[in-house]
Symmetry: C2
Subunit: 576 residues, 2 copies
């Protein structure tokens, strides 16, 4: 490729609309252009990167017996009615009516299409297990598209769907896929991606993992234990619920008594008033719940906060925190578990309160709290729920000794054990060995290709541009011609270029009549791993300069050895 | 690949919904499944064929300096307002509103997106020419989707857009692309595809070619001269307009006179009444024209018919034939060019009448015709238009000696010289050598990938299934195991399979425990070029059978030579 012919200008200035590094570099470097909010076109270098990422994913999917298929972008309403998602998904699902007044939609994921494609083809047990996958355009009408390719509305996704005759078989395959995903992220140059436990969200199912690339640009927060293997998205991260003081058996059982606490409402004020730690209080958090006419009061230990994502999952509905509520006599600041009218409010207890004693809580009376409250004596709920937020520095709930650290991360992939959610609702069955009709058990596995490209940029760049891993770099070698009008510089550079092309090397040559500063700035923005500089000064000494974009190599070689030396550097990088 | 694991059942029966051979074979052979009207999923064998077709197209596009990009499926209304097509295209363009009440659409082609992507990137002449291309999903809400993948609503298209600084440069590139297209069709196994002159339709522009695969399943009719190179879609095929008799100078000029012709209206009746050939009459064809409140009368030589597609292009609107019209006093059967009230009707003359004399035409009076009418004397229109239908057996208008033959064809690709239609309306400019801002000149070039696959099937099959050209076959070698339970048949077959895989041969093995009839029927439906049969009978003689799907080769080889012999057959086919 000649740079003079490459479509896509590279800019000096930081584009105003870009906050994330990847967004900025993709615009500056001539990789993407916005067509509409959250909708982009890819220029040739980006298309080359994406194609290489796709090739790596394809090889890994094939290596775990995936069969590539293609399902449509546009689907009929009926298909999504079957699964129930036509109704359950909101306005992020684009719906339209075709010319025959038929309701259609744009696929944002393809579970329904995968079941539709498979259900008449795999009707006996001996066809199982199998996995199908595709690379397909999805459209998700995100309310807040942002960050270039990090959160878009239209995107290419590799989505895969596996079908099994037993949960055990699904679990085995899930592990194989998890390993394949780890190989993919390693091969595209981000081996630091980690798999963390996650919410199953609108996909349904039980077990799910997200693959997170830890970096500041991430929209997700991940809790990671510094001692054991525990890693989870904050949305599902298990909070440590045991109250240490009691474990150590320090306190005696107190009597329940009312205490006058005029105007003392917040935990901070109560802590100083009573001279106790926040762990000894019951906090009441009040929420409005979608589709419910009763407020929900969540009781939680005083030192903890409610994790709304976890609460949502427990109540199967959206929740909104309330700081006031006039319809009934809830005394904000003095709300406690005893004496609430459950015909007017719903109540839920966090696991942090399970079995706790000697607590201070609201007395449901303005100006009063209760002291000596016991969850073993005064009120024993049917169930405790894990709805607490985990905090940076908390003790790990798994190993009980490590400390939880919170990090930001970008989700670059996800895998779900879906169970029979779709095969039951869509009535996909097979005849098992025993002659019975059964619903296959499904898993699904996604990677957003464009987001992965952008994520790589978030962690593989310097101040001047991308440092593409060679496995996905648009080209392997970038030849710069300095002072091309002098002596035989141009001839030597083009001879190198032609020779490298002949040897199937992926090479781009900057044949533009621009100065060295512009050439280097653009080369930095293209981020090609191996740079070759042909300049009059070095040629005078019969030398050519070879360097790597990550600056680990920089050397002068004899002109005659250049081709071999360049290919050696490329091959060393490819092997690394 | 093991056939036992391959997703997709193959059927014995012809599917009821399929009329076209390709549709039938794609369903029977487990290649495609319908998701909605004109919307299909591709099963693994089809996806493999499509991927190979795409690879061939990509290589040829790269060979003419194409740069692969990616433009979105969903585009904002504004982009198509710029070109004017948001209004001019009807309900085949899917429009929807996003969650922010923004009007969006599904791309059915990408001229607007290509200009949008390029207009800020190629602002000086030295960036030209360039060509960008993509493989992208399109949606066109066809009123009549039919024939499996032949006419669908959702499809993958390779679309390419070239930009030039002169018409001459566009023409040169257009020729290069035409040649590349011919190479593509040859490489995918249908060298008989021909380029024919075509209508530019909604794309705009002047010169256009369609690539037609002649076969009965085609929806288009192509006029082909049996003597010269002339080929054109019937929609634009030039009719021969010269009236031979006059050329030969046989007749003398007659006087204009009125003749009483009671109830004699049709050309057939007039021919016998006057004892003249149909060529001596002026026929009047009446049309309603979209968005016009006046009927349009087309006068044409009596032996010819009006080609509505050509007429549409002349009047820039849809036309509908009328056989009656009550609003004004048009006397159907007696309509002629003299004395019509042009405030009430529009009039148009076909080229066939140019310079003709001694004609019979209607007198615009019930029961009367005029004789001796001359287009040189009695009425000389400003312009004559070519709106006549060409007929099978007509003389060629180009070489004047060949005969036109009409054939059915499937359009598998098209190329257009668009000119500045899009760059002007969307204000794309560059600075030319002379310092002036100019609009680049565009060409565009499409191939429907799925339709091409189906078209290949229309001409590469036998009664039992596809005969895939090896360049696009899902696999190269298909191993059948007959009586796998006997002796070492299975071991030998699998040893062959493993060895071939090791040697990077694309091989599928039928490891299912089914009888030879089922194996062969399915192998025919998969249409793999080279078939290897491992059977107890042949193994007894230490032999293995190799044959080709097209039946040109069938031989027994020594077991030990099988791998080499198989690869030789494959390589010979690949070279052919």
């Amino acid at each position: 490729m000649r740079a003079s012919q490459l479509l896509g200008e590279r800019y000096k200035e930081k584009p105003a609309e870009a906050n994330l590094i990847s967004h900025m570099l993709l615009l500056k470097g001539g990789y993407i252009r916005q067509v509409s909010n959250g909708i982009y076109s890819l220029l040739p270098p980006a298309k080359r990167v994406v194609a290489k990422i796709e090739r790596i994913i394809r090889e890994e999917m094939d290596s775990i017996d995936g069969q590539e298929v293609q399902m449509p972008v546009v689907m009929p309403r009926e298909l999504w009615e079957e699964s129930g998602r036509y109704k359950s998904i909101g306005s992020e699902l684009v719906r339209f009516r075709d010319r025959n007044e038929h309701d259609m939609l744009l696929g944002m994921t393809h579970e329904e299409a995968a079941v539709h494609l498979s259900r008449n083809e795999a009707v006996t047990y001996n066809k199982y297990p199998f996995m199908i996958y595709q690379f397909q355009t999805k459209f998700r009408d995100e309310p807040r598209a942002r960050g270039g390719l990090i959160r878009v509305r239209e995107f290419t996704m590799k989505d895969a769907y596996s079908f099994h005759t037993s949960q055990k078989d699904l679990e085995n395959y899930y592990e194989k896929c998890l390993a394949a995903y780890n190989r993919i992220f390693k091969r595209v140059g981000v081996p630091e991606v980690i798999a963390v436990g996650s919410d199953t969200g609108m996909m349904g199912g039980s077990v799910a993992h997200e693959f997170m690339l830890l970096c500041d640009a991430g929209e997700d927060t991940i809790a990671i234990c510094n001692n054991c293997d525990y890693k989870a998205n904050l949305e599902v991260a298990q909070a440590r619920s045991k109250h240490k003081d009691y474990e150590e058996g320090k306190l005696e059982e107190e009597k329940l008594e009312e205490v006058y606490t005029p105007d003392i409402k917040s935990i901070d004020n109560l802590v100083s008033f009573f001279g106790l730690s926040a762990k000894n209080f019951i906090k009441a958090a009040v929420f409005a719940v979608q589709n419910s006419n009763k407020p929900l009061i969540v009781f939680i230990r005083g030192d903890l906060e409610v994790n709304e994502a976890k609460l949502k999952k427990v109540v199967y509905a959206n929740v909104f925190p309330l700081t006031d509520y006039t319809d009934i006599s809830l005394h904000f600041g003095f709300i406690g578990p005893l004496g609430l009218d459950t015909s007017k409010v719903d109540i839920l207890f966090d696991k942090s309160l399970e079995g706790e004693e000697n607590l201070v809580c609201g007395a449901n009376k303005v100006g009063y709290h209760l002291k000596g409250f016991s969850m073993k004596r005064d009120l024993i709920p049917e169930k405790f729920y894990d709805v607490a937020k985990i905090n940076h520095g908390d003790e790990c709930c798994v190993c009980n000794s490590g400390t939880i650290e919170l990090s930001r991360g970008i989700e670059v992939g996800n895998i779900f054990q879906l169970g029979t959610k779709y095969t039951m609702s869509m009535n996909m069955t097979y005849t098992d060995v025993d002659g019975e009709r059964k619903h296959p058990i499904m898993g699904c596995y996604g990677i957003g290709v464009g987001r992965l490209m952008a994520s790589v940029l978030e962690v593989r760049h310097d101040d001047y541009g991308p440092i593409w891993p060679i496995s996905i770099a648009p080209w392997h070698v970038h030849i710069c011609i300095l002072n091309g009008h002098k002596g035989n510089v141009k001839e030597v550079a083009f001879a190198l270029y032609e020779k490298l092309k002949e040897l199937k090397c992926e090479v781009i040559i900057d044949d533009r009549d621009v100065n060295a500063g512009v050439q280097f700035a653009d080369a930095d923005l293209l981020g090609i791993p191996v740079r070759v500089i042909v300049s009059p000064k070095n040629l005078d000494n019969n030398k050519i300069e070879i360097s790597t974009r990550d600056k680990t190599i920089k050397k002068l070689v004899e002109k005659e050895d250049a081709v071999k030396e360049i290919l050696d550097v490329v091959n060393d990088l490819l092997k690394a």
